[in-house]
Symmetry: D2
Subunit: 357 residues, 4 copies
C-alpha cells in the first residue's frame, strides 16, 4: 500500500494516473465516462486491441468533454510508464493475462473480466478457455465491495464481480449467511439482463429489429456466472438454478430470487437481517415493506435496490434485485473498489441517483 | 347445440351473427380485428360502456376496412335480437353478470374475464369482488382448448382462460398429468407480461416514459391468476410460487417455469410426454432440444411455443412458454373456442405465424 | 397474359405456383408469411444465397404453420420448372439480373429491389453499381398500384416500388398532378424509417443497444430513393429535399412532406383533390380534417394513411404519410400487384387493418 | 446583483440556498437530481401543488442519496425565508405568476415555463391563457445562455427557454445572424420529441402500449413554441414552418432544419459561421463534415450537438440538432443560467458527456 499512498491520499492535490485497457467496449467506455469526472484521477491512457488516430470524443461522440486521449494498442510498458492504476476490461480469455502482467509490474489493477474470479479448474470447465496465471488468480481479491471491503482495501489486484453475480449475491448473501435458507432447498434465480451485457460486438439476435418487443432466455443452465455465484454463496446454499434472459432494454440486471425459507423464519426476521447487513451502505438500498425495485430506478447509478417479499403459502422468500449492469455491475463497482484501495471517499465520482425517466 | 348448428355449420353460406361486448378494450378491439376476417362470421354489434357516433374505423384508425359499426351502449335486448353468439370482454366484476344474462337468453357466450373461472368463494377471496351468478359459473366450461376441447364443443358458455394461466398451464400440464413432478416439490412460475395486459385505461406507471427501459414486478404473491392455475393443475402440484412482472413490450406473456423433477425422470421422458400430448395441435408447438421460445415469435399469432430444458445439477425441469396475451391469451383463444363450438375448422381466422420482426 | 389466365383466374380451384427468391431477408420472410395465407397460391420454392436443410418453420420459428419448404440455393431452372410466378427480393445489384433472367424464361416476375426502377445512367449514379439488363428495365412496370394499375395488369415484370417512394409518392402525387404546388417551390420530405428497412444483416449502429432511445439521419442528401421519387413526380415538382432518418421502431415509414402551395389553393381544394383521387382505394386512406396518421396504425397492414394540414401562415401544405415498410412498402404491395396481374380480388391475403397496439 | 454576491461567490464556502417549485414534474425531478450534486448549492425546499409526508428518495426511488426533504405545498413565505434562489417549474399558466411573486420579494428566480417568454398578446394568442404580470415578463431575460450570456449574468429573473426552441435556435441562429438565409425563403423545422416532453400527467396516447413502435405529429401548425422561435430569430427569418412529432423515446429533441441558402453561400462559409460562433462553448458542439448527431449521444448531458449538410441540388442547408429535452432543454440549461448568475464555473454540476448506450 505504501506506493499507492504516495500517489494517492498522502499528497493532497496529486492525482492518481489511471489507464483503461479495453477502452472501446461498453464497460471501458463507461469507465472513461466515470473516471473523467473523478477529481483525484488523471486519465493518462486508453488502450484497446486497435488504435484510433482521432481523440476519444471524436470517435465516441457521447464522450464530449473528455480528455483528448487517443485509443492506442495495449502495451505493458506504456501502462507501467504512464499509470499508477489500470482498469482492464478486455474480453474473458485475454483480460486476466493482461491484468496479471500489469500487476506483476507493480501497478494496482482492477480486472473487470471473469478471468480472475474462479480457480483454474472451475474456470476452464465453465468458460471453456485456458485459465489465467495461477499466481494472479490466487492474489486477486473478489471485489464485491459490500462483502469484501477490508480485503479490497489491502489489495493491489481486484477481480471485479460479474453483473449477474453482483445482483444475485447482494440479494442472497444476507439470507444465506444468516441461516434463513431451508437446508436442502434449491434457490432459483430467474435473472434478466439488458442487451448491453452482451457487449459491443454485432450479433444477429441483438439487432434492434430482433430484440425490440422481444424476450428470450440464453445459455440456459450453462452460464459461466453459475460457479461465481455458488462459490461466494458457499456450502450453505447448494447448487442453484440460474437462468439468464434477455430483456428489451439497453441497461440493467434484474434478478428475481426464490429462496425456500428455513422453519420458523418470518418476514420480520428476514427484513431485520437485510437491514442490519446493509445499514450505512451508500450503494445498496433495501426498500420498505410492500415495495419492489424498478429496473429504471437504478439506471446510470452505482446502486443495488432490493425488495423483500415472503410468500407464506409456499414458505418462499422472494428477493428482487436491480442494478445497472454497466455501473454497479461493472465500471461503477470497479471505481468503488478503486476508491476503497486509494483511500478516497467511496462515493467519489459515483452517484446513487439514477437518470430517470 | 341444435340452434347453433342451424346458424352455423349446417347451412352452408349462412354466417353466425356475432357481437362483441366490451369492444373498446384491447381484447375487444383484437376480437373485432380477428372476427372481421372470419368468413363465417357477420359482425353485427359492438358494445361498450359508452357509445360513439362515428363508426369503428374512424374511432380506431388501425381498424381500417372493418364494417362501419358504431359502438353502442350494451343492451341485452339488442344482443338477443341481433346476435347468435356474443364475446364478452368487460372488466372483471361486470363481465360475468353480462355473460350470464346473455347465456340465460339462449345465446352462445364466450366470456374473456375472470368472472366465471373460479368458484364463488375462491373468486371473492382473490378478486375482492362479489362473484358472478352461481348457475352461470357452474355451467361455464373452462376454455383451455387443448385440454378441454370436448367440453368446449358441447358448451354454450365459456370461461375463456386468463393470459398468464394459458401460458403457464400449457407449459405445466403435461408434466403434472404425467407424474413428472417431485411429490412435495414447489413449482415456481416466474412470469412476465407486456403492458397491454393491463388494458387501455391510463395509469401513471404504464406511461411510455415510465415503462421504456424498465422492468418490475407487481401484485407479488397476490395475483388473481394463482387460484386459476392451481385449480387446473390439481392436487398433484400443490401451491405454486407465481410472480407477475411487467416487460417493456406491448404484447406477450413469457412464463419461465421451474419444476422439481420426480426421481428417475430424465429429459427424454419429459420430451416424450410433451410431444405426445401436443402432437397435431395447430396452436401449441414444442421446440426441438436446445431451443427456447422468443417472445416475438408468437406476436399476433394464436400460438404457444414451449422450450424444455432439464438441469441435472439441480434436478429441475425448466419449461419456457411464450404466447401473445391478446391472441392465444385472450381474443384468439376465444375465437378458437368459438370455432370448436360452431364446428368450423379450428384454424379459421387464426394464424399460427407471427408478425415478426 | 394468356398463360397467366390459364394458371390463374380461368381455372377455378387451380392455384398459381409461386416462388420467393431472396426468401431469407425481411422482405422475403414477409412474402412467405403473406403468400402462405393466399388461397390461390401454392408456395413451391424458397431460394436464397445459401441453403438450409431444415424446413422454414424450423429455421424461422415465427413462421409456424408454413409449408415445410426448405431454403435452397437459387437456380433459374428450378424456378422455371416449379413456378408460374416468382417474387425476387434480393439485394440491389443482384436482384435485377435474377428477375430479368426469370422474366426472359417466361415467368411472371415481381422484383422488390431498386434494380429495375431507374434508367441505367440514373441507377449507376445513385446506386454506384452496374445497372440491370436494359431490356428488362425497359419492360418493367413501376408497381405503384394505385397510380399504375392498368399497366400493372398487363405486365409480366414488375419493379416494385421502394418503401420511401411508396410513402412519399402516395402523399405527393395528388398535389403534384392537380397543380397545387407553387411553381419553383421546393418540396421537402422529412422521412423516417424503422430499422427493418436496413435488412437482416448485422451492423453496429443497428444493434438494440445503439438504436433504443435513439434517432439519427443517414445518407443525408444521397439516398438512392431520391431519383425514384423525382422520376415519378415528374417535371412539375423539380428537385426535392429528401432526408432519411432512423426511428427506434422495427417497422414503418413516416414521411412528413412540406409542399409550397400555389396561389389561390386552399385547404378545401387540397382535400378534394386527395379524396377524389383515392376514393374507392382499399389501401390508401385520407384521414378526416384535423387528424394525422400514427405509425402504429398501419403496422402489419397493406395500408397508407394520409393526413392533410394547410398552414396559411407560410402557405405550406403538409402531408403526413404512414406505411409499414415491409407490407405496403414491400411484400404487401408486391402481392397487391400479383393479385392485379392474375385477376384475383386485390385484397386477397392482404389486410387493411393493423396489428395494434 | 449585490445580494447575490453575498450569498454566492463572495463568501467562499457559503452555499446558495436553493428551492425548487414544481418539484414533482419531470423537469422538477431533474432539477433536484442535478442540484443535489452541485457543490455550491444547499437544497432547502421542494414544493409542489401537493405535499408528501415521506422524504423525496422514498417517493421517488431513483433519487436515492438526495437530501431527505419532503415535498411541501408552495408558499411564497417559505421560499423567501429559506431560499436565495428558486427554480419554478410549474405548468404554463401558473408558473409565471409564482415566479413573478418570488422575484418581487427579491429572490433570484429561474422560470422553466413558457409564461415569461412572450409579450402578453402573443402569449395569450398561442397559449390561450391569461398572460403573467407584465412587469415580470418585461424584466425577464430569455435564458438561451450561449446567445444571451451577458444579459443572464445581470439578471435576477430568467425565462428559461423551451426545449424545442433551444434545439431549433442553437441550430438556426448562426445562419440567420450571418445572413446565410435566402431572403423570402421559408425555413422548415421538422422537430421530434421524446415523450417526457409531455410531462408526468397520464394521457391515453402516451401509454407505453400506444407509443411503443409508434410515431406521430401533434399540434400541427399550432405549437406554442412557434412564436418563441420566431421572436428570437427576428425579422431576417420570416414565419417558419414548425412541426412537432412524438418519438418512441423517453428523452430528446431532434430538430431537422431546412434553410434555403442565400446566393453564393457555400458549405465552407456555413461551417465557418457555426464554428466561429460556438468556439469555446462547452455545451454546443458542431460535428465534423459528414457527421450528424445521434439523439442518444446527448442523453443526460447538457449538450447540443449540431450537424451541417449543404444540399447543392436544392440549395438547402440542413442543420440537425439534438438535445436532451430535460437537460439542455430544461433543467440543465436552468442550472447553467444559475451558474452564470452566481458566478460559478458554468460547467458546475453539468456534464457534456452522455449516458450511452
Amino acid at each position: 500500500m505504501a506506493d499507492k499512498m504516495v500517489s494517492g491520499a498522502s499528497s493532497p492535490g496529486a492525482r492518481v494516473r489511471v489507464g483503461v485497457v479495453g477502452a472501446s467496449g461498453y464497460s471501458g467506455l463507461e469507465l472513461l465516462r466515470i473516471l473523467a469526472a473523478h477529481p483525484q484521477v488523471e486519465l493518462t491512457l486508453a488502450a484497446a486491441s486497435h488504435s484510433e488516430a482521432r481523440p476519444l470524443p471524436e470517435v465516441y461522440p457521447h464522450l464530449t468533454g473528455l480528455p483528448a486521449l487517443a485509443l492506442e494498442v495495449y502495451s505493458a510498458d506504456a501502462c507501467a510508464e504512464r499509470c499508477d492504476a489500470v482498469f482492464v476490461a478486455l474480453p474473458s480469455g485475454s483480460s486476466g493475462a493482461v491484468a496479471a502482467e500489469l500487476w506483476a509490474r507493480g501497478l494496482t489493477v482492477i480486472d473487470l473480466s471473469g478471468d480472475l474470479r474462479l480457480p483454474a479448474a472451475l474456470y476452464e470447465r465453465w468458460y471453456g478457455k485456458p485459465a489465467a496465471p495461477a499466481e494472479a488468480q490466487a492474489a486477486a481479491v473478489y471485489g464485491l465491495t459490500e462483502w469484501n471491503r477490508e480485503q479490497v482495501r489491502a489489495a493491489r489486484l481486484i477481480a471485479n464481480p460479474g453483473c449477474y453475480p453482483t445482483a444475485s449475491l447482494l440479494a442472497l448473501l444476507p439470507a444465506v449467511r444468516a441461516g434463513l435458507v431451508r437446508p436442502g432447498g434449491t434457490v432459483v434465480i430467474d435473472a434478466k439482463s439488458g442487451v448491453s451485457g452482451a457487449g459491443r460486438s454485432t450479433a444477429a439476435h441483438l439487432m434492434f429489429a430482433e430484440m425490440a418487443e422481444n424476450f428470450l432466455p440464453y445459455k440456459v443452465g450453462k452460464h459461466q456466472h453459475v460457479p461465481e455465484i455458488e462459490q461466494m454463496l458457499g456450502e450453505d446454499a447448494g447448487p442453484i438454478v440460474f437462468t439468464t434472459q434477455l430483456l428489451p432494454t439497453v441497461r440493467g440486471i434484474y434478478a428475481s430470487c426464490y429462496v425456500p425459507l428455513a422453519d420458523g423464519v418470518d418476514e420480520a426476521r428476514v427484513r431485520d437481517a437485510y437491514l442490519a447487513r446493509y445499514e450505512g451502505e451508500p450503494f445498496v438500498r433495501v426498500l420498505p415493506p410492500g415495495e419492489v425495485p424498478a429496473l429504471k430506478h437504478v439506471r446510470g447509478a452505482n446502486m443495488c435496490q432490493l425488495g423483500l417479499v415472503v410468500d407464506e403459502r409456499t414458505r418462499t422468500l422472494m428477493v428482487f434485485s436491480a442494478i445497472d449492469n454497466l455501473v454497479k455491475g461493472a465500471a461503477g463497482q470497479a471505481v468503488q473498489n478503486f476508491n476503497v484501495i486509494f483511500g478516497f471517499p467511496e462515493e467519489t465520482a459515483l452517484t446513487a441517483a439514477a437518470l430517470a425517466p
